[in-house]
Structure formats: C-alpha cells, structure tokens
C-alpha cells in the first residue's frame, strides 16, 4: 500500500508510537495516508482506538516478524 509519509516507531514503548504518529499526522492533509512501523504490542489496539477517536481511518494493518505495520488515512 502506498503511503505519503512513514513514521518509524520501532523499538519505542508506549506512549511514543502514538505521540510520533500524531505529530506527523498534524502536518499532513486530509486524505493522505500515513504508514506506521512499531514493535510495541500495545500499539495495535491503541492506534486503532486513537484513529477512531480522531476521525481517521485505519485502512490496513499487518504483522511482519515482530514489526507491526499500519496504514492510516487522515480524516
């Protein structure tokens, strides 16, 4: 999936994956897609909940080894 920007939050513990994602998202335009890479297990549920509460769309998520990948479209 094509992304306009990528946030690498690998190795970072909660709350940093969301802090970084949120910061990047602020600089993006509605409809653009952000890819997030994280290794923190808690990021899965938290990114989904965060996207929902912020009006964004979690388009897809994948697991590759111990890396979680998410694609979120800005709302």
């Amino acid at each position: 999936m094509n992304a306009d920007k990528v946030v690498n939050a690998k190795g970072l513990a909660c709350p940093m994956p969301i802090v970084k994602t949120r910061k990047q998202m602020k600089e993006m335009e509605s409809g653009q897609v952000l890819e997030i890479l994280a290794t923190d297990k808690g990021a899965q549920a938290d990114l989904a909940a965060w996207a929902k509460s912020g009006g964004h769309e979690l388009m897809e998520s994948q697991v590759e080894g111990d890396v979680f990948k998410f694609w979120i479209k800005k709302g």
């Binding site: 513990a13 909660c14 709350p15 808690g42 965060w50 509460s53």
Partner: protein, 375 residues
C-alpha cells in the same frame, strides 16, 4: 518534576483494607472495559492517554482532592507521562509501577490458618487476575497447590519460612493461567502431581494425582488427601488438608460454581459437575473451610484479604449449590457462558509442555480477567 510511583503491593493493601483510591486509567476504552483494578472503595475515570496529549487541564476539575490519585496504564510509560502532566498542573498523582502487567503478576500472601502441630496454611491472592494458590507448611516441609507462573515468589516464600517444598499439586490442567508447578518442581526436586485424565497431552514426566492419594508433610505427618471431583475438567481433584480445609480448585467458588466448558465439553461434563457438587461434597464434613482456586468479584474477599468460607455456609448461600432441578442446573452451566479466557488454548498447551513461549509472550497470554465460573 519527578512523580511518585506506587507499587502493586501498595495498591493491594488499599484493595484489601478497602481504603479510598481514585484511579485515572489511561488505557484505551476497550482495555479498561475488559479488565481493571477492582476494589470496593475505588473510583474510576478512564481517558485514553492519546486524548490527553494536548494537555490535562480539562481533566483536573474531574479529579478528587480528598483521596489518593493513581494513574494506570498497560505497562507504565503513558501513566508516567500523564502523572507528570498532572504534576505541572499542581495535582499530585502517583503512577502504577509496571502498569497492569505488574498488577497482573502481584501475589499477596495471606495466612488463612493454623494447622495441627504448628503447621501453617497460606493463600497467595493474585488480585489482578483472581487466582488463588496455596502453600501448606509443617515442620520444615511444604506443599504447593495451584501455583501461578511466578514460581520464584513461592520458592522465596518457602525459603523465608525455612521449608523445603516436597510436593507440588495442580487441582486440574489450568486454562486461564500458566501454572508455575513444573518450574517449582524442577527447582526443588519436588514431585509434580497432575490428574492423569487432564494430562493426556502432557509431554513431561509427572506423578499421578489419583482419588484417595494421601501425602504427609513434615515429621508430624500433616495430612493432605486427594478427592476426585470432576466437572470443571474431567480430572479435577480437590484436596482435604489436615481434616480442616477443602481446596476445591475450579469446581466450587465462594459465590459461584465452576464452568465445565473450557475444553469444549460442557454437555459431557455437566453431569460430573453436578455429582461433585451435589453428591461428593455433600458427604464431607460441614465444618470444612472451602478454599477455591479463584475469586471472581472483590466482594468474595474476607476482611483480612483471604478468600475462604465454611462449606456449610456455601450450601446455604451459594446459588449454584441450591438448584434442586437437574435441568435448571444443566441450563445454567451450559447456556449463557461467559467468554473464554484470553489465549486459553495456548495456555493449556503451555501447561502441557507442548509449547514454551518466552516470558514476555507468557505475560501477554495471561493479560485480562479470569472467566471460569458461572453464577
């Protein structure tokens, strides 16, 4: 500005002593709804940390000034951040060290009673998950029953008491938490007993826990006797300790009874469960004190933090023991069952030795509430 940590044992003391506490839980809403720190005098507010990144000013007005405030998250990081933000607003709040993970692993040892010849019986209350484990100590020897994954806590406790662990028992093959029985047996050379009917898939050597088995602890021969009582699992076995205590495993709880479906065999096992509760237990002495392997709600704790009640009281008060109609009983334990525990199949495989997940994964497998009873 640094903020204060509160450790799990301090929170446990507040829960047991029914002291006031305000918990600001900053996990996501689903996680909070699924599982939280329970206590009779705890007030809650759940706002996910990601909704507080712009500031906590709006939360401050919702916080009490007359009780301790504890910020809680899954592992710790976000609760430290939020506690620091509160501190900048002039609110003193502590964070839970190690988060809900630490809470899930904390065991509170409570002495439930004196046994004959100077023996002692301890209950290890896992407040975060509702699991109860036991250690019987007499004359420098000990037996451990239904130990949880945190084996070192039991090993250290026995050492503190100057006791050698001789016997390790599990009342059944657990599906809701990972047993520490095997690890304790390996560390001490003790025999690890499992009911053979539950242990068909077990890949390591174990001793057979059969009906009528009797072992003696210490030179003054404190007696532990096994009583086959199937129904939660086909192998479920109870223990009578010193003719005084009845360890019921997951067959009978204080305010509920076991559920028979963990291995998908509710219909087959419901008859066994009925017989264990309505026939086998009925024949036992009324004054036995019931010690279950779980509690479900915080109201089941006694004032001293223990979970224990006379069998005769349970026959009077426990709804599950007072259903005269067999069909009604059958319906209760086979219909409207609560959801299965998280990762229960992997937990069973781990307890059988078929898989050995690393420690971090074992922790994750156990996260969440316990759900093995029906009320």
């Amino acid at each position: 500005m640094t903020v204060k940590a509160m450790i799990a044992s301090e929170v446990a003391k507040k829960v047991v002593n029914n002291q006031p506490l305000f918990i600001l839980d900053v996990r996501n809403g689903d996680a909070f709804a699924d599982w939280k720190i329970e206590g009779g005098n705890i007030q809650y507010l759940n706002i996910p940390y990601f909704d507080l990144l712009d500031g906590v000013e709006e939360v401050v007005s919702e916080l009490p000034t007359d009780r301790d405030i504890l910020v809680v998250c899954a592992k710790e990081g976000s609760s430290v951040m939020v506690a620091e933000m509160l501190s900048e607003e002039g609110v003193h709040a502590a964070y839970l060290e190690g988060g809900m993970k630490a809470w899930s692993e904390h065991l509170e040892p409570v002495k439930v009673g004196e046994l004959s010849n100077g023996g002692e019986l301890y209950q290890f209350v896992r407040l975060g998950k509702g699991c109860l484990s036991y250690m019987v100590i007499s004359e420098g020897e000990a037996a451990v029953i239904d130990a949880t994954r945190m084996a070192t806590i039991f090993l250290d406790f026995a050492q503190e008491k100057g006791a050698t662990i001789k016997y390790v028992f599990d009342t059944h093959l657990h599906a809701d938490h990972i047993s520490g029985g095997r690890a304790i047996a390996e560390a001490t050379g003790a025999s690890y007993y499992l009911p053979p009917k539950d242990a068909e898939g077990v890949v390591f050597e174990y001793a057979a826990l059969e009906n009528g088995l009797e072992v003696e602890i210490g030179s003054l021969k404190l007696e532990i006797e096994a009583l086959y009582s199937p129904g939660h699992t086909i192998g479920s076995t109870s223990f009578i300790v010193d003719q005084k205590y009845l360890m019921t495993g997951d067959i009978l709880f204080i305010d509920s009874i076991g559920r028979p479906d963990l291995a998908g065999l509710a219909e087959d096992w419901v008859g066994d469960l009925r017989e264990s509760l309505y026939s086998r237990y009925q024949k036992l002495a009324d004054e036995l004190i019931v010690l279950p392997a779980h509690f479900m709600i915080i109201e089941e704790l006694n004032r001293d933090g223990s979970v224990a009640k006379k069998l005769s009281d349970l026959f009077k008060e426990n709804h599950g023991l007072n259903i005269a109609d067999e069909q009604e009983f059958r319906d209760l334990v086979t219909e409207n069952l609560p959801p299965q525990p998280n990762a229960y199949q992997d937990i069973r495989k781990t307890n059988m030795g078929q898989i050995t997940p690393d420690k971090e994964i074992q922790r994750e497998m156990e996260i969440g509430p316990n759900r093995c009873a029906v009320r």
